[in-house]
């Protein structure tokens, strides 16, 4: 099939440029409700995803380009020509400035797959499920609500009209875990009888997830939620745990996107302070997107056009350095293509996490959902669990109420822990302390 498809593409006189991604995916899924298996699934999919471009003059006579994507399976073997023609007709409808294709190059050898688990994925998942149940059983007041395990293997072979022929093999593991904590008999401090805490973890390899540690963390959070109270309204320092950072930084990643810049909706300027004219009194931001991070969930050898995986230093010492983006928008801006955004990397600061956690402050370990405004950086998120830490280091669990602020304002007075932690799709300081520009809406004092 692939040779037939490539031959048809090469022979077509009207296709200006093309890529084919041949994807073979297998996935194993296992679901527990409490300690009982609810479902076990396996999934198989094989696709040929063809992107093709058509060159034509625009309304003003300038050279323009349009693209379309058609997806084929083996069942389409007899319709290849017709499908390509249909795609080409769609590509001819849109008119954009032309862009180039990446050339064949030396792609990095980024480790992406879990060889050990691939020997018998379902057995490996079931072993992990057993380990998880054992770990849960050892936690006082804790029981399992639900767990979902997804392990996927994907082979991708990329071909392009620029002469690219490259392949990668990657795996991805997703664990969704929900634990319940019940109040101990006679526990007068418990605000409720039972609470839950959940987590979704993504890794390339099962071995990168320590199930016992994870269960211990989630169990502690669930138990603390039992006695957590609504926080006081607060305008002082707030420390965010590494678990909460990926979503919080999405507006920063958006701002550095080449497409956003081309669309006129990003104020970022190369060589200028990333936070604009705001006065920075905290530590400077270092932010990178790394698609060559070993076993990073967002790592790759090459992106869908063939741009090699790489580390893109987006912000160093508070100064904006590079836009990230694929070939099209990089061409439009006249900057090097970096490919699809990789794993979020935030540079460490100078102080230990323990020092940054000196109270009085609030330390937030989980939000119900951190979904900031991607344009402005404004955020308002309910606190799922946090702690008020007083000046003596005494921790009081809190939940409810919300943390509000603006990411770019908050980063002007931020301090980053010197310890960093790999979280699958990010490598970030273990905590970030925001000394100003964040507010907790809670009980009025």
């Amino acid at each position: 099939m692939i040779h037939q498809l490539l031959d048809a593409l090469r022979a077509h006189p009207e296709i200006a440029q093309w890529t084919v991604r041949h994807q073979q995916t297998r996935e194993w899924q296992h679901y527990l409700i409490q300690n009982q298996p609810e479902a076990t699934r396996d999934v198989h999919q094989e696709l040929y995803i063809v992107t093709l471009c058509h060159s034509h003059p625009g309304p003003d006579g300038r050279a323009m380009m349009g693209k379309a994507t058609v997806t084929l399976t083996a069942a389409d073997r007899e319709q290849i020509a017709a499908q390509l023609d249909a795609g080409l007709r769609i590509a001819a409808m849109t008119s954009n400035l032309p862009w180039t294709q990446p050339s064949a190059t030396a792609w990095p050898d980024v480790p992406l797959h879990d060889e050990e688990t691939l020997l018998d994925p379902l057995a490996a998942i079931e072993r992990m499920a057993e380990q998880l149940q054992v770990a849960v059983a050892q936690e006082p007041q804790i029981r399992l609500s639900a767990a979902e395990f997804f392990f996927e293997e994907r082979f991708t072979r990329l071909y392009s009209s620029a002469g690219i022929e490259v392949e990668e093999r990657g795996t991805q593991f997703v664990l969704e875990l929900v634990l319940l904590a019940a109040a101990a008999t006679g526990d007068a401090a418990a605000a409720v009888d039972e609470t839950e805490h959940f987590v979704i973890e993504k890794r390339r390899r099962l071995a990168d997830l320590d199930v016992a540690d994870l269960v211990a963390d989630i169990a502690r959070n669930a138990r603390d939620s039992l006695v957590a109270q609504l926080p006081q309204t607060w305008n002082g320092p707030v420390v965010l745990d590494h678990n909460t950072l990926y979503e919080l930084f999405e507006p920063a990643i958006n701002r550095a996107d080449a497409q956003a810049k081309f669309m006129g909706i990003s104020p970022a300027k190369i060589g200028a302070p990333f936070l604009g004219e705001r006065e920075v009194v905290g530590e400077p931001l270092h932010l990178a997107l790394a698609s060559d991070l070993p076993y990073g969930v967002r790592s790759h050898r090459f992106d869908e056009e063939g741009v090699p995986g790489q580390t893109v230093e987006v912000v160093t010492a508070g100064t904006f350095r590079r836009f990230h983006g694929g070939q099209r928008f990089a061409d439009y801006l006249g900057v090097p293509a970096t490919g699809e955004g990789g794993n979020l990397v935030i540079g460490p600061g100078t102080q230990a996490a323990d020092a940054l956690l000196q109270g009085p402050l609030f330390y937030i370990v989980a939000f119900s959902a951190m979904m900031p405004n991607g344009f402005t950086g404004d955020f308002a998120a309910e606190i799922k669990l946090g702690y008020y830490i007083d000046e003596h280091g005494v921790r009081t669990p809190v939940k409810g109420g919300s943390l509000t602020g603006n990411l770019f304002d908050a980063l002007t007075a931020a301090q980053f822990a010197r310890e960093v932690r790999f979280m699958g799709r990010s490598e970030v300081p273990t905590v970030i302390r925001f000394n100003r520009h964040v507010t907790i809406a809670g009980e009025n004092q």
């Binding site: 996935e27 899924q29 679901y31 409700i33 409490q34 609810e38 479902a39 076990t40 699934r41 396996d42 999934v43 198989h44 999919q45 995803i49 349009g66 379309a68 994507t69 997806t71 399976t73 069942a75 389409d76 499908q83 795609g87 769609i90 409808m93 849109t94 008119s95 609500s145 929900v178 319940l180 609470t195 839950e196 959940f198 979704i200 309204t233 081309f262 669309m263 006129g264 909706i265 104020p267 604009g276 004219e277 119900s368 959902a369 979904m371 405004n373 344009f375 402005t376 404004d378 955020f379 308002a380 998120a381 309910e382 409810g400 109420g401 919300s402 509000t404 507010t439 809406a441 009025n444």
Partner: protein
């Protein structure tokens, strides 16, 4: 592989699958096969780009076997009879021996093919060029509204869902197309930037999709006001919610909390409150996939269950949950038409469809009249449920200050509405006589995205804002 591929195989499979089911059920208590073809066309134009994007179609089959306790499934994109038979036999072999467990509640025999009636223009018959021109025209209109609009995006989505479901009680199929059109307006002035959006959606005919001048002008007015908006002083506020925000509350507060698969996981407080008051007596709420033309509607769910309206809250009392085949069978609760999959690649969960508060008696003027100092919550951005603790988080994009029953002109941005659900719903003192549903995409936790709507009337309530 396109939607037409499904048309070429569906009749063959409709005839072949009953015998395969019968063969599997000689060894296991239950088997089914569901075949799906989800194809998505997106058109996105802004001032700098125009693109037509055909997402990789999700066309494939799910073979399901129940061993008395556990569901075993194989999902494949290969739809020929021999392949499906081989995989079905493998699956049965893996599921054996049969265990002792609850029987699945299959319901009455049902057959037939369902599609939206009275459609003037089937979306897949409308030329792509016409859809592209529609987007360009709406973009052009929007751009001319105000020089502070630095860009605008017109985003058309067409999701065609074809499916066939066969088990021993059903041989049913459905073909419907969900459409949405969004205008996203981005404004900048004096170093500030923000956005607002206008949206319309339907399930059915292309002629039903209308993003009006009035909607776009309102979004323009909103985004210009947001450029100078402030953050609100945290605290408890008298609030009036638009249907958009009412819907967000309905979806997050009780939609997720009454999903019966959450009952099985002991993740929902709703389980303990069935038959008990959970809201003010003037509050009634439904999940209803039968709403004609609504973006979250269907005729059959992904497990072949015919659509019916489910009353969730009636006069303030929690009366019923919503559920899929497995969850309702294990819980021993009535099955509803809420078993949905993101695609054939995923398992079926209990999912919402169109979730809304029923309209009441009050006009907006009556609701505003005696608000001393409050906020009109205009639009939501996102929400997240915590059914176990009955906590709620709604991120509100825009709020307008009300003093002495009138808007003051002051605008708030990015507000968090949080609280304890029974307190929030118990605080509802007026229910509007209007009604609107807005479209969106709902995740189960942070994944498993399916199209839904939520909405209702304006509500007057007291909420914690931050």
């Amino acid at each position: 592989m396109t939607a037409t591929y499904f048309d070429t195989v569906v009749d063959r499979l409709r005839a072949f699958l009953p015998a395969l089911i019968e063969e599997m059920e000689r060894q296991v208590p239950y088997a089914s096969v569901a075949v799906f073809a989800n194809t998505t066309t997106r058109i996105r134009v802004d001032v700098t780009n125009e693109d037509i994007l055909l997402d990789p179609p999700l066309i494939g089959a799910v073979i399901t076997v129940y061993d008395g306790v556990r569901l075993w499934e194989h999902a494949t994109h290969v739809l020929d009879n021999d392949h499906l038979r081989d995989k079905a036999r493998d699956l049965v072999a893996r599921a054996l021996p049969v265990k002792k467990g609850p029987a699945l509640q299959l319901g009455a025999m049902r057959t037939g093919h369902y599609t939206v009636p009275d459609v003037l223009r089937r979306p897949h018959d409308v030329p792509l060029q016409e859809k592209l021109e529609l987007c360009k025209e709406r973009l052009s209109f929007t751009r001319a509204l105000d020089p502070r609009l630095v860009n605008a995006i017109c985003d058309y989505r067409e999701l065609r869902e074809q499916k066939l479901f066969v088990d021993r009680s059903a041989n049913v199929s459905q073909d419907l197309t969900r459409l949405s059109l969004h205008g996203i307006l981005i404004a900048a002035d004096k170093g500030e930037q923000d956005y607002d959006l206008a949206a319309c959606s339907t399930t059915g005919g292309f002629e039903q999709l209308r993003l009006t001048d009035e909607q776009l002008r309102e979004a323009k007015d909103n985004v210009i006001q947001l450029l100078t908006a402030e953050r609100i002083a945290p605290g408890l506020w008298d609030c009036i919610t638009t249907p958009s925000v009412s819907g967000l509350i309905a979806h997050e507060a009780f939609g997720h909390g009454t999903e019966i698969d959450m009952f099985l996981k002991d993740r929902s407080k709703g389980k303990e409150f069935l038959g008990r008051p959970v809201a003010a007596p003037i509050v009634t709420m439904y999940d209803d996939p039968t709403v004609a033309g609504a973006y979250g509607s269907h005729f059959i769910d992904d497990q072949g269950m015919p659509a019916t309206r489910t009353p969730i809250i009636e006069n303030g009392v929690l009366v019923q949950g919503i559920g899929d085949l497995y969850a309702t069978s294990v819980a021993g609760l009535p099955r509803t038409s809420n078993g949905r999959r993101e695609s054939y690649l995923r398992k079926a969960y209990t999912r919402m469809t169109n979730t809304y508060f029923a309209p009441g008696a009050h006009t907006l003027e009556e609701m505003m009249a005696d608000v001393e100092h409050g906020v009109y919550l205009v639009s939501g951005e996102s929400g997240m449920e915590d059914p176990k603790s009955w906590g709620i988080q709604c991120t509100i994009h825009m709020g307008k200050e009300i003093k002495h029953g009138q808007f003051t002109g002051k605008v708030f941005k990015s507000l968090a509405l949080t609280g304890y659900v029974p307190e929030l719903l118990g605080s509802i003192t007026m229910v509007g006589n209007d009604f609107h549903l807005g479209s969106g995409t709902c995740g189960k936790g942070h994944k498993e995205w399916v199209p839904v709507t939520d909405g209702g009337p304006h509500l007057r309530l007291r909420g914690r804002l931050g």
